[in-house]
Symmetry: C2
Subunit: 456 residues, 2 copies
């Protein structure tokens, strides 16, 4: 118990630069059953690696299907991680613990300390490195709230690639400064649905003023990619190789908690496609020392793919360009209400997260926007850091777990991924404080009147 | 030279939490001549400590006049520093060096890593601690770009004080999300000139739509303070005790450069009131090992107090409520154009900075807004971090020094204070990229037509 007293006084656990992980941790060999493969929607057969290599960097496709437990991190990528803030601090939430008067000890992993403000750079750098090495000139991608687009813009600037970003229109308008940041890094960016692709034009014609979805923006980025010879597509979540790259988060956290002489009882992350959640969770899941640890994934009730989606093969995008993957999905045409957590507005969820939900290893929960942002305000006053609206979902779950521990009087150890800061999302907090946010029920009513894009 | 090769590969120099300094370094005993005292404007006599104690926390007034070389940092303040990110990293600008192809080695101190985004929390925490200990209930203050107001809001939340912030109107509008952040921390905030004070009402009546200045906002915060019994005033720059608190920056940098086996040739900071510049510079100036180091203070040509101001006694505020201090000043009624570097829109500069300019120890330079922000864009692409418009002034000077070193082929070591990030200032970069910024000449023309507030 002495170590607990010690950490009570010291609120951040830092690692040396040399402690940036040297491998990614692959969850695939740890699944109870082999993952259902992506299939060609026309034939129903598993897609060939060659088909995927037309879209993604070759090395990423290899990693997508790798059976290896550990995948080496290239030294150039490790150095880029160091330059942009890795290893990130693990912080003890001493202020929040005091505010809640809980016996729980709460730790949060500071992925907000990246210059683009979130964990997204972890995979953007890796993907940009592989693409550059393979002779790719240009990356196309989509972004929701803009965390991913910013990361791609910086990663492309770092490794010398051009970047083209399709940003979901509602977020493009809500978070205009994200677009400015991407342009400052040298990226080109348009609101989606755009007039740069056939699919974007079609949606704009049929549904003028459509707010956009991640599914539509993915379709546009893919169409852009396939219509040119110099471009590949980079994705910020859902796929195995993306979640693999995020495993640096959890690996660092394991070392940091060891230094604090702590074992986590509960690990929490917010879930859109699943990448930050997987990043903090999978290295613990892959390590038998943490067999009894509970893993909680948090999504918005406005886009409840984990808690209400069907488990079936579905397209990753709205136009139906991608292979189909087996996942919990609300259907590719689902248009979520315009919540501020733009990064969680995705109709599906990563196949590996889906499989681990089915195995009972991940417990999914869903929260509404207003209480989520209220929790984030409690956190901001106690810890000083303002969470991104996505991250605020994890904050709410952590506060809930800490209050539960208070009720039962247990010294629970809670770890959550502080996936990003809210500096570009202050409109969400302004709306909250002005009472301008509507509860989910009313949102849904407003949106149900709007037709969804029909793409078949 | 081996150590140079080593640091070339490692871009951040971190310190342990325990290495947060235990003392502040006081520049007063290192000045060539005793600093001219603040005077009572009516009598011309030096003001008494008692008069200052009606405005400021007692301990701050004592520090204002302290002859001690070192002033102890209270343990509660040290712990707060640790919680909010100290020691901050010292980063080698490997990306920028490569982009400039310079033999210079450039280091920047990451004061942006504070949760409020700048160095301002260093003194806000200290001042809030002393006030709370002395039984103060509420702090009033002014803010320009909002970095200071955010720091006061968080420091007050940390130590349990109420916070009232008068924010210069033009910045309140340009950087609206800064206000949201302050409110999220629990502060009250109004645009200045406001209708909450007699002076604010007077300015609003005589000059409707006045954009505000730091001088006017200071007057409002002081009037607020003196009209109540529960409130003291906290200031974010100019005065000795504020600059004293910022000395944690330079002390850490000395240790960090030692670890990199480097001696700085040039140290650079932007200058509004002078606090971040003093923070990085004064500990080096107080240390005889750095006798040959050059110190460069950078201000905007739009508000050139150091390079064009007179050295004389002047008020710190516009209403003429404060004691007069001897400093380089443009006159208390000077209304600078609406540049985005709101934190540099102050008519004077710290008395100690003024004295050190006169001693020839500090070399002041002034730059125009557009080339300053263009330098910041070069930095953002090379390093990933987007500077605050204030900080961009130091960035431009560092780039200039590095290019000069390239011309002469010298391995110069350049250190600058990265005083804050630009996440809440993206409007400045949007305006730059849209070509919407006007050069200083045109600004001055537009503004010269506008009458200045007459306060006597």
């Amino acid at each position: 118990m002495e170590s607990t007293e010690l950490t009570r006084n010291y609120s951040r656990i830092l690692l040396d630069l040399e402690e940036v992980p040297k491998h990614y941790v692959n969850i695939l060999p740890h699944l109870a059953e082999p993952l259902a493969p992506p299939i060609n929607p026309e034939t129903g057969d598993p897609v060939s690696p060659e088909m995927l290599m037309a879209i993604f960097a070759v090395e990423c496709v290899k990693q997508e299907m790798s059976p290896e437990k550990l995948v080496p991190i290239p030294e150039e990528v490790r150095e880029a991680y160091m330059k942009y803030g890795r290893p990130t601090p693990l912080q003890r939430a001493v202020g929040l613990e005091a505010a809640l008067n809980t016996p729980a000890r709460i730790y949060y992993k500071r992925e907000d300390s990246s210059p683009t403000g979130s964990h997204k750079l972890n995979t953007a750098l890796s993907q940009a490195y592989y693409a550059k090495k393979e002779g790719v000139i240009r990356y196309a991608t989509e972004t929701g709230a803009g965390q991913w687009g910013s990361a791609v813009a910086l990663a492309c600037a770092h490794f010398g690639l051009e970047a083209m970003v399709y940003m979901v229109r509602v977020s493009y308008e809500q978070k205009a400064y994200r677009g400015v940041l991407m342009r400052a890094y040298g990226a080109e960016i348009v609101p989606s649905p755009s007039d740069r692709t056939e699919f974007g034009k079609k949606v704009n014609t049929e549904y003028p003023g459509h707010p956009g979805t991640l599914g539509i923006a993915i379709s546009e980025a893919l169409e852009d990619t396939l219509s040119r010879g110099d471009t590949k597509y980079t994705i910020g979540s859902v796929l195995n190789h993306v979640l693999l790259h995020q495993s640096v988060i959890g690996q660092e956290a394991i070392v940091q908690l060891e230094k604090a002489d702590e074992t986590p009882d509960t690990i929490i992350g917010c879930v859109g496609g699943g990448s930050n959640f997987a990043g903090i969770s999978y290295p613990f899941m892959a390590d038998p020392r943490f067999e009894t640890t509970e893993f909680v994934g948090v999504e918005p009730t406005a886009c409840p793919s984990m808690t209400e989606g069907e488990f079936r093969y579905d397209f990753g995008d709205t136009a139906g360009i991608t292979p189909k993957v087996k996942m919990h999905t609300l259907g590719k045409d689902f248009t979520p209400p315009e919540i501020h957590a733009g990064g969680l507005r995705y109709h599906g969820v990563a196949p590996t997260v889906s499989a681990l939900i089915n195995e009972g290893r991940i417990r999914p929960v869903a929260y509404e926007q207003i209480p989520v942002l209220e929790s984030a305000m409690v956190f901001a006053r106690a810890e000083g850091v303002i969470p991104a609206p996505e991250t605020a979902h994890a904050v709410k779950a952590a506060i809930g777990a800490a209050l539960e521990a208070k009720k039962t009087g247990t010294e629970k150890v809670i770890l959550f991924n502080f996936s990003g800061h809210g500096h570009f999302d202050m409109g969400a907090y302004a709306a909250l404080m002005e009472g301008a946010l509507v509860p989910e029920g009313e949102m849904a009513m407003a949106k149900n009147g709007q037709p969804l894009p029909q793409t078949t």
